[in-house]
């Protein structure tokens, strides 16, 4: 840059205490004027050593830990962990348990995406209105969780071999009522934002991730699909009987933050569709298989993955025939999606960096674990 005015870059810390870091995440940004020339992420403020702690507890006792990694999608986390242990121990889940799991995972996706969309629009500066609307709808999903599992945020509902309890009597009508109203709300949200010129100006061509970078960086979830790559584990590697349901994968055009936004909005609709099918075809029978409390899976290792709201959520469990896992590892989609932060932010302005961070939809509890 050959500007007659001499300017020198300086470093500003966005976080750990900052309104838009969604937790205690720190982004060290070097700026030249308004332009970002370097960005570095500093993580670890919320490290709770969950992977190590899990080695000291039994397999069942570890389920609440998974609630608290990604606290915005506890059901999906429970599911991923239970799938890994079931794979390791060779346990089959009854049909009804699988259907309930699908319903819960999709409800969780709706709740989590609402939070993501709301927080993202907040980052673009829409002063709290979309986030309040989204939280209002998310509350309704959390009410359903409360009805089923007794908890709203950290549900601890899935069990190895099925789910903890059968769904209550009121659950089905309440869910049907919710999924009847949700598409209308999604349209309302789209009406407020999707065609809004200011929103388009803020998010179009901002934080572009080209498809090759998305694949090479091992991104997952809406981040990957926003770049135009049709990849969804529910289709590519079905679990819990997802192959039975009819739904489509929304993909973006060029991988900017707007594409990620519209992909998330469309995924809400697809989730509603899946829940409807799962409720229609809800089989009878037991909701869970009997599993010994002190489970000692045979020696070996297992990796199970689910399509969480943020992408591929993997659980790797190694057993040495003890009552607790020998090694327990989580593949957190937030952390890996965040690895392209530098590519997304450098060259843009500070405001773009915030939008880029918001479009990743991070949960710091999952990044640091």
């Amino acid at each position: 840059m050959t500007s007659p005015i001499k300017s020198e870059p300086f470093v500003i810390n966005i976080g750990p205490q900052h309104p838009s870091t969604h937790g205690v995440f720190r982004m060290k940004v070097t700026v030249d004027g308004e332009q970002v020339v370097d960005a570095e992420m500093v993580i670890g403020y919320l490290h709770r050593s969950m992977e190590k702690l899990a080695e000291e507890r039994t397999y069942t006792q570890n389920i609440p830990f998974t609630d608290r990694t990604d606290y915005l999608s506890s059901m999906s986390n429970n599911l991923g962990y239970c799938l890994a242990v079931e794979k390791l121990a060779g346990i089959d889940v009854p049909e009804r348990g699988q259907a309930i799991r699908v319903i819960m995972a999709e409800l969780q996706r709706i709740a989590s995406h609402f939070m993501a969309l709301g927080a993202f629009t907040n980052d673009t500066g829409a002063w709290q209105t979309p986030v309040m609307w989204c939280l209002r709808e998310r509350e309704k999903v959390l009410d359903l969780f409360e009805m089923t599992s007794g908890a709203r945020l950290t549900c601890n509902y899935m069990r190895i071999g099925g789910v903890a309890f059968d769904i209550p009597k009121d659950f089905e009508p309440a869910t049907r009522k919710l999924i009847k109203t949700l598409p209308g709300f999604i349209d309302e949200l789209e009406g407020l934002l999707s065609g809004n010129e200011i929103f388009l100006a803020r998010t179009k061509n901002v934080a572009v991730i080209p498809p090759d970078l998305a694949v090479n960086a091992s991104l997952a979830g809406p981040m990957l699909r926003g770049s135009g790559i049709a990849w969804d584990l529910r289709k590519a590697d079905p679990y819990c009987g997802y192959e039975k349901y009819d739904f489509a994968i929304p993909i973006g055009y060029q991988g900017d933050s707007y594409d990620r936004f519209i992909v998330r909005v469309e995924e809400l609709r697809q989730s509603v569709k899946i829940i409807e099918q799962a409720l229609d075809g809800l089989p009878g029978g037991p909701h869970s298989t009997q599993v010994p409390l002190a489970l000692r899976p045979p020696k070996g290792e297992a990796y199970a993955r689910v399509e969480g709201p943020r992408g591929e959520l993997g659980y790797y469990v190694v057993s040495d025939e003890g009552p607790s896992p020998y090694r327990f590892h989580i593949r957190p989609p937030s952390l890996i999606n965040l690895s392209v932060l530098k590519e997304m932010t450098v060259g843009g302005s500070v405001a773009d960096a915030i939008v880029a961070l918001g479009s990743v939809d991070i949960v710091v509890g999952e990044i640091d674990r």
Binding site: G125, W127, R225, I251, Y253, D259, A351
Partner: protein, 423 residues
């Protein structure tokens, strides 16, 4: 010029509050030395304006009304704990701010940081001097009121910059640089848009503008729709209202130039931000929406009440945009000022000058022609806004607001070249 009123000249007739103040001043003139009455007039004017309008509006429209309305927009209740319906909330807020400790960072420039809120408050008081609340209720009916108002209302930028600079905080510095850049950019379309009004009414006095609108029975926003839109956008940019609040963009730079302020120092900035917004609303109402007149109703209802209600209605626009729109980026905001608003303001000026010459030379200033001009200008405004945006590449029909849908998981799906297919 005197508009007919039901209001009498008796001092106790509160339909025209100037009766009371002139009675006091007349009495004072008889007993006090000569200079005192001028000081007393100033004090009465400001105290009255503040007690009757500015302070209640700030508290109950700016703080409570805004929070309530935004609450409704966001489907929540807003403050409803203090007093019935939460009406005492602003007072509780003010008390809380007064009792809070006002921190100063060690490395801050203490003097500048202390002075900035004071400097910020002063213009907020001064600008009410030229706003007409009624036919006689104007503190200083100076012939260059419009210039005075513009000059006074651009002063707080200095205070904001001082505030941002003094903190020794990077977020604050960002906010300060942004607000200066923005104020310089938006002052130009703002003044140019008001120039059209001046050309048409041939006066710089705000009271005269109100009389002009009363005489021709038309509000200037109908004759000057483009100027009104430009005024609204430019003024909300200068006021840091939400679509353009980049100087205190919460999600980016925490609180901009207010980051390190706490206690009543922050409270002064917050309160006076609302004060400026009210001032801008009052000015906009006076210039574009007929001030205290309402097509003859001002003869029956106290004029100042009409004015106050109009100002609140105008202020509602600020609240509404705040509750609805996302924020622009600084470079977009700058290019918006220079690439869209400045040319449009110039076009507007060109049109209104032509019309003015036509009107005086060809039509002898006949009243009906102003309605013709109004219709023409509304059409011009629509065409110009759309046409100019199209010229600079506004193509909403090419925006894909729905993602592509695929049924099977696979790899990358190349984007088919778009041929302007619809949403």
């Amino acid at each position: 010029m005197r508009v007919q009123f039901l209001a009498t000249d008796n001092w106790y007739d509160l339909r025209d509050l100037s009766n009371l103040s002139s009675a006091i001043l007349d009495g004072l003139d008889k007993i006090a030395p000569q200079g005192v009455v001028y000081v007393a007039a100033a004090l009465i004017g400001f105290v009255a304006a503040f007690l009757i309008f500015v302070l209640p509006s700030q508290l109950f429209v700016g703080v409570l009304g805004e929070r309530k309305l935004i609450g409704r927009i966001q489907s929540r209740y807003g403050p409803n704990r203090v007093g019935p319906y939460g009406v005492l909330q602003p007072i509780a807020d003010a008390l809380k701010l007064l009792t809070k400790e006002s921190l100063t960072p060690v490395a801050a420039d203490r003097l500048v940081m202390y002075m900035a809120p004071v400097l910020f408050v002063m213009p907020a008081v001064l600008m009410w001097a030229v706003i007409p609340f009624g036919p006689n209720m104007i503190f200083a009916d100076i012939p260059v009121a419009l210039v005075y108002f513009l000059a006074i209302s651009s002063l707080p930028v200095l205070a904001s910059f001082m505030a941002g600079w003094s903190h020794n905080n990077k977020y604050s510095l960002f906010g300060a640089m942004r607000i200066v850049a923005m104020a310089i950019s938006y002052e130009i379309p703002l003044v140019l848009s008001l120039l059209g009004v001046v050309v048409l009414t041939e006066t710089l006095s705000l009271q005269e503008m109100v009389f002009w609108q009363d005489r021709f029975d038309i509000w200037l926003f109908a004759v000057q729709p483009l100027a009104m839109i430009i005024y609204f956008i430019a003024v909300s940019a200068e006021l840091n209202r939400t679509p353009t609040d980049i100087a205190e963009a919460e999600s980016e730079i925490v609180a901009g130039y207010l980051t390190e302020y706490s206690g009543m120092k922050w409270g002064l900035f917050y309160g006076m931000d609302i004060g400026y917004a009210l001032g801008a609303a009052a000015f906009g109402v006076t210039v574009f929406f007929g001030g205290w007149t309402l097509f003859g109703l001002e003869e029956w209802v106290p004029a100042w009440m009409i004015f106050v209600v109009k100002v609140w209605a105008f202020y509602f626009l600020f609240i509404w945009t705040r509750g609805t729109l996302p924020r622009l980026r600084i470079d977009q905001l700058m290019s918006f000022a220079w690439k869209y608003m400045l040319p449009l303001a110039l076009f507007n000026l060109l049109i209104i000058c032509t019309e003015r010459i036509l009107w005086t030379d060809a039509f002898d200033g006949d009243k009906p022609f102003i309605y013709l001009f109004a219709i023409a200008n509304i059409i011009f405004a629509g065409l110009l806004i759309l046409g100019w945006a199209r010229l600079l590449g506004y193509r909403p029909e090419r925006t894909q607001t729905r993602p592509r849908m695929v049924q099977e998981a696979g790899g990358y799906v190349p984007v088919a070249p778009a041929r302007g297919e619809g949403r």
